[in-house]
Each structure stands twice: as structure tokens, then as C-alpha cells.
Symmetry: C2
Subunit: 202 residues, 2 copies
């Protein structure tokens, strides 16, 4: 556990804006775990998606989610926010730049963004994408070059492609070489992981 | 259509070894389309996965697959092979290096491989991964660095991360700047796309 915690990046995260398919949600948390994201953020899909099949949206404590998560959910802290504004307020107060994965006039190639800065990557919902509100509040828009007939990638694919570019930049910058958490934070997370692990076996 | 065909890469492909979840399968074809893969290869899941829920495996002509494919399947030619050996024989005869996305002693970081060579990326089945047979036949093994608690990525995520590294290298090498298909091949594919498009509207 310490070996993993030594590489956790408190200043790299994602904000999932109403991503509602459990397999996408859990694939994204798996990728977060793999690049060392300490905590992820989500605005549950319950509200605000007109044609959502599941009226309850993603049940985050529910069975489907945990079953498909391949256990990544245990190791990436998940914070829920009721709406876009409150998530942004929280992230900005902590000094994150929010980069929306979103096609727009402002969008730049995702490879030119600087992910060594404290960065939150915003992903939009499967069908409708990033909300106009969130696009507006974001510090920048990034896009993955599409050279085919189809207009967009699967959301968990888009998240991963960007996260592994962030990983690449952070490997180069030496960010995985020593712990990035303060000693107090480190010990607190370690205690919670140990507790979770014990519960998982109980 | 010509704008897309101008960027198609006849010498970049994937081989999906018994990937059987339709959402993974279609997310991979969507990523293939986005990086300009002309044709993809698959060994259907029907045979050889002990605990497959769907006894018929992925029905490639079936509804589920086409519905979730976001139409990428229309624009990436899919070749099916009954078994691993016949797929490898076909690919090697065409001069492809086959790189297995697979953890092993031989595996190197996926970022050091040279994707400007004619390259096929081999992906394994969700639960069991790449078969020992295919691992053995591959020219090399590549792995995406994992820094978390979970041992592997979702297969469509792994495919995309590698394909977009290939895209990055091929952008740098100027591979998307002019058509890479011979004029005859180009016209043949164009005719088949036009026909498919017409049918799609009929
Ligand atoms: C399936 S897409 C939504 C498509 C929606 N029709 C739109 O135009 O935004 C779901 C999310 O994946 C991310 N995404 C998909 N393809 C992307 C790309 N090429 N570049 C950046 N983000 C992408 C975005 O965050 C998007 O909101
Ligand atoms: C879910 S994984 C299979 C895991 C299986 N337990 C194993 O150990 O191979 C499905 C496929 O995704 C690909 N994959 C997943 N994570 C990968 C990584 N970090 N590097 C390279 N390929 C990966 C491989 O092709 C693998 O066969």
C-alpha cells in the first residue's frame, strides 16, 4: 500500500459530469487509480439528463457500480457534488485549473496542456457532453484529435487518453519519485485504506 | 469521406483476441476510427472462453453490437479469424509486427515501441488476457505503466491509450498529411464506403 501511496497525486483529478453508465464510470476510476489520482469528483447523473434510461441515475453505492469497478473504487476517493457550480467552487478554492474535455472554438490539442499544474479534467455525460455551464466555468478546453468519421470517443476512453498524457508529463517531471502528500495527509489516507482493506476481507 | 480516407492508415491495426463485451468492442472500433485504422481484426469470443456468460459469444452481426458501435463499425473494416494462428499467419504475411498488450518479463513500456512501422496491437480478453499462444507468437510485448492498486486497465482503455500513442508518433512522422493508400485501393474503399452510406440511409 505504501508503494502505491508514494505515487498518489493529490493535485491531479477528474470531474465526471453526469457520466451515468456504470461500466464507463468504473473504467474511469480504474484509469485514475493507474495514474495515481488520489481523489475523484462526480456530479451524479440523477438530475439533469432528460432521456436517462435509469430514472435513479447511477446508484453510487449500488451493486452494479461496485461489481464492475474492479475494486478501483476502493482506492480512489470519490467526492459527490450536487451541481456544477458547487464542484467548481470547491476545486477552484483548492487551486485546480479545470480543463474541460470538450469540443469548442476555444479547444486546444490535449497534448499541449500542462498537466504538471494542479489539474482537474472535466468529462461530460455520454450523450450530451459537457454542460454549457461547466464549459463556461472551465479554465480551458482540450480535445483529442479525431481523424475518422465518428465525432467523439467513448467517455472512458477520452478520460484515459488524457490521464495517460498527464502521467507521461508527470513521469518526466519526476512527480512519481517521492511522496507528494504531506506526512499528515499520507498517514490519514493510509489509515483509511487499511481500514477499508480490513473491511473488504471481513 | 475523402478527407477521412486521406488519413486512413493501412499499416496500423488491432487484433482483438476474444474481447466479448459489446461496449468494449465498440469503444475500441470507435478509437480505431479516430486514429485512422483502416481495418481491424478479431477472433470471436465464441470459442475458448470457459466462463463466458453469453454462450454464443459476441454476435458480430447482432443488434447489441451495431447499436452500441456509434457507427464506427461502418467505417472500420472488420476481419474475423477463427483462431490465433490463422490471424497471425495473415498479419505476418502482410509484414506487420504484432505487439501484444500484455504483462510479461519481455514487456517494455508502450511508449518506447515504434508505431510508425506496420503495426498490429494485440488485445486480450477481459478476464483472462492474451492467450499464451498469442503471447508466444507476438514480436514484442508492451505494457502501460500501472501505478495504483488495480492490476489492469479496461481493455478498451488500454487499446485507446496505445492507439493514441501510435497516432502521436504518426502525426510527428507526417503520416496523416497525404493519402497512404495506393490509388486503386483508395478508390475501392471509397466505393464500398459510398455503398454502405447509401444503404445506411435506405
Ligand atoms: C461521448 S462524448 C459526448 C458527445 C457529445 N455528443 C458532444 O458533442 O459533446 C462524452 C464525453 O467524452 C469526452 N470526449 C469524447 N471524445 C472526446 C475528444 N475527442 N476530445 C475530448 N473529449 C472527448 C468529452 O468529455 C465528452 O463530453
Ligand atoms: C482486463 S485486461 C486482462 C487482465 C488479465 N487478468 C491479465 O492479467 O492479462 C484485458 C486486456 O487489456 C489489455 N491491458 C489492460 N491493462 C493493460 C496495461 N496496463 N498494459 C497493457 N495492456 C493492458 C491487455 O491486452 C489485456 O489482455
Amino acid at each position: 500500500m505504501r508503494a502505491v501511496l508514494d505515487k498518489r497525486q493529490p493535485d491531479l483529478t477528474v470531474l465526471l459530469e453526469r457520466v451515468h453508465k456504470p461500466h464507463n464510470f468504473s473504467a474511469i476510476l480504474r484509469s485514475c487509480d493507474a495514474v495515481g489520482v488520489l481523489e475523484a469528483y462526480a456530479i451524479p447523473a440523477k438530475h439533469g439528463i432528460p432521456d436517462l434510461d435509469e430514472p435513479e441515475g447511477l446508484s453510487l453505492q449500488g451493486k452494479t457500480y461496485n461489481e464492475t469497478s474492479g475494486s478501483a473504487a476502493k482506492w480512489v476517493g470519490l467526492h459527490l457534488h450536487e451541481d456544477t457550480v458547487s464542484a467548481f467552487t470547491h476545486l477552484k478554492a483548492r487551486g485546480f485549473q479545470v480543463l474541460a474535455a470538450h469540443f469548442s472554438e476555444r479547444a486546444v490539442d490535449y497534448r499541449v496542456a500542462d498537466y504538471t499544474r494542479p489539474t482537474c479534467i472535466l468529462l461530460g455525460t455520454e450523450k450530451w457532453g459537457v454542460s454549457p455551464e461547466a464549459a463556461e466555468l472551465s479554465d480551458g478546453h482540450i480535445q483529442i484529435p479525431m481523424m475518422g468519421m465518428v465525432q467523439s470517443l467513448n467517455v472512458s476512453v477520452a478520460a484515459a487518453v488524457i490521464l495517460f498524457e498527464a502521467q507521461r508529463q508527470r513521469i518526466q517531471a519526476g512527480f512519481y519519485e517521492q511522496p507528494r502528500l504531506s506526512p499528515e495527509h499520507y498517514e490519514a489516507v493510509l489509515r483509511s485504506w487499511v481500514a477499508r482493506h480490513e473491511r473488504g476481507r471481513g
